[in-house]
């Protein structure tokens, strides 16, 4: 009895040590909308840098920034808007000289594919037929900030804000629409393209500032050299082809 217990404990302890360690693990904190494209880019980067493993941490850019600001050991930060990167720069988490824009995106309004009503203009969303509209929380989610800017400049924010269902990431907003829990949502064109059967794009929304994604290695990165290589890699044709395939535009 006792030796079986000892053996079981030893086995459990041994299995926890069996995690493979790589020459270097690169930690990339990236905006949620980059999930699919970045996952495809990882093996391409790893092929050019043998022994490296890319670990991703996806989330709303604002939330990722908070993690980094409070000491999370990330190497690279890719955000979905300039403002979050500006905040990072203001806190000396990234250097201005090292940041660069690597893709652009487009803001769209999507509705559930089963929806009978489709808005023809932004002002239609103020109507009562659209009772729930999923918008990213402007305080931490870039897509929510772009949306708020657009709606404020169109004088629609006060009409639409009461109907807003706050989403913690753009993918959560997309999920709400895919499940038909909301009548419409503001997401990126690249996110809408991921669920053609469940959501349909109703409007393409021009934004006052272009949707440009910046990326930068972090000043406190544990793997600084590798971080810079990853940032450079995103501008190569290999990475750009993958991004274009998902619908991202040139920076």
């Amino acid at each position: 009895m006792k030796s079986t217990l000892h053996r079981s404990i030893a086995l459990i302890l041994a299995s926890t040590l069996g995690i493979a360690a790589h020459a270097a693990d690169l930690t990339v904190s990236a905006a949620a909308s980059l999930t699919n494209a970045f996952r495809d880019i990882a093996p391409l980067f790893e092929a050019e840098n043998p022994g490296t493993k890319v670990q991703y941490n996806f989330g709303a850019s604002g939330a990722l920034l908070q993690q980094i600001a409070k000491g999370a050991p990330a190497d690279v930060f890719a955000s979905a808007d300039q403002e979050t990167m500006d905040q990072a720069q203001a806190q000396d988490l990234v250097k201005e000289a090292q940041r660069r824009n690597f893709v652009s995106n487009v803001l769209v309004v999507v509705v559930p594919s089963t929806s009978a009503v489709v808005p023809n203009a932004l002002a239609d969303l103020a109507q009562a037929t659209y009772a729930r509209i999923a918008i990213g929380l402007p305080a931490s989610v870039p897509v929510g900030r772009y949306t708020k800017l657009v709606l404020e400049s169109a004088n629609l924010w006060s009409a639409i804000e009461p109907k807003m269902i706050g989403a913690n990431t753009v993918r959560q907003a997309l999920d709400y629409v895919a499940r038909a829990e909301v009548d419409a949502a503001f997401v990126y064109a690249t996110d809408a393209a991921l669920m053609p059967g469940k959501v349909k794009v109703a409007l393409t929304v021009p934004t006052p500032t272009p949707v440009l994604y910046p990326v930068a290695p972090l000043t406190a990165a544990p793997n600084g050299v590798l971080a810079q290589r990853f940032v450079d890699f995103l501008s190569t044709s290999k990475a750009q082809t993958v991004l274009a395939r998902y619908g991202f535009g040139k920076p």
Partner: protein
């Protein structure tokens, strides 16, 4: 800061409703399980205890699938009554009720099982109805154990986060409970708000525990 008081009021309302529902369900089902033997009773007990063991996000996902507009229950409600549960405080109550149910159920069942059957039989020989046996003999004898379960259930409902976030979302005044408010304040880098919310939550929890300490008669105090 005003949002903190709104979140506190909403959290207490949701936890209160969830505990009230669990009071009825937990006692009823606990009593039934303690008194009746039937094939599959242990399996049913395990299934009813599942919400306590399952990760809240898994539970939240199940609830989303069932009560969402495309789910079996949700679609039926939408079609017949025009009711959409997701993103309402009712969904928050459902989530809190489900996660806290096993705490009352388990405590009630255990409490009813230690009530001496002779006492219940004696009451029956005196000619009172089954309902009266339950209300005047079983329940009063099992009450302390049930109360402990209710307290745990209230505390659990107060702090529910994962399942609530999935089905209720976070709408200030309607579904943004204290735990969700803290989460979003931290994500947005609003540390002042987060600190204030955490302080409010801590004080509320301590108040609940102190209040419960008064309600539960202590054995030590009784002997002293």
């Amino acid at each position: 800061m005003g949002e903190a008081w709104i979140a506190l009021a909403l959290t207490l309302k949701v936890a209160g409703w969830a505990t009230a529902i669990n009071l009825v369900l937990g006692i009823g089902i606990g009593y039934a399980m303690a008194h009746w033997r039937f094939p599959g009773r242990d399996l049913l007990d395990a299934v009813l205890t599942l919400p306590m063991v399952m990760p809240p996000t898994v539970l939240g996902y199940y609830l989303l699938v069932v009560i969402g507009s495309q789910g079996p229950l949700g679609a039926w409600l939408l079609h017949h009554f025009g009711i959409r549960l997701i993103f309402t405080w009712h969904a928050a109550v459902i989530a809190a009720t489900v996660v806290a149910f096993p705490l009352v159920f388990k405590a009630a069942r255990a409490a009813f099982e230690v009530v001496e059957p002779q006492l219940e039989d004696a009451a029956r020989t005196l000619g009172i109805s089954e309902w009266a046996v339950f209300m005047r003999v079983s329940l009063p004898l099992a009450w302390r154990g049930i109360l402990a379960g209710l307290l745990l259930s209230f505390a659990r409902a107060l702090g529910e986060f994962g399942a609530t976030l999935m089905v209720a979302g976070s709408i200030v005044g309607k579904t943004q409970t204290l735990s969700i408010a803290v989460y979003e304040a931290v994500q947005a880098g609003q540390d002042d708000t987060a600190n204030f919310l955490v302080a409010v939550t801590s004080i509320a929890c301590i108040a609940v525990l102190l209040g419960a300490g008064r309600l539960l008669p202590g054995r030590v105090a009784a002997r002293a």
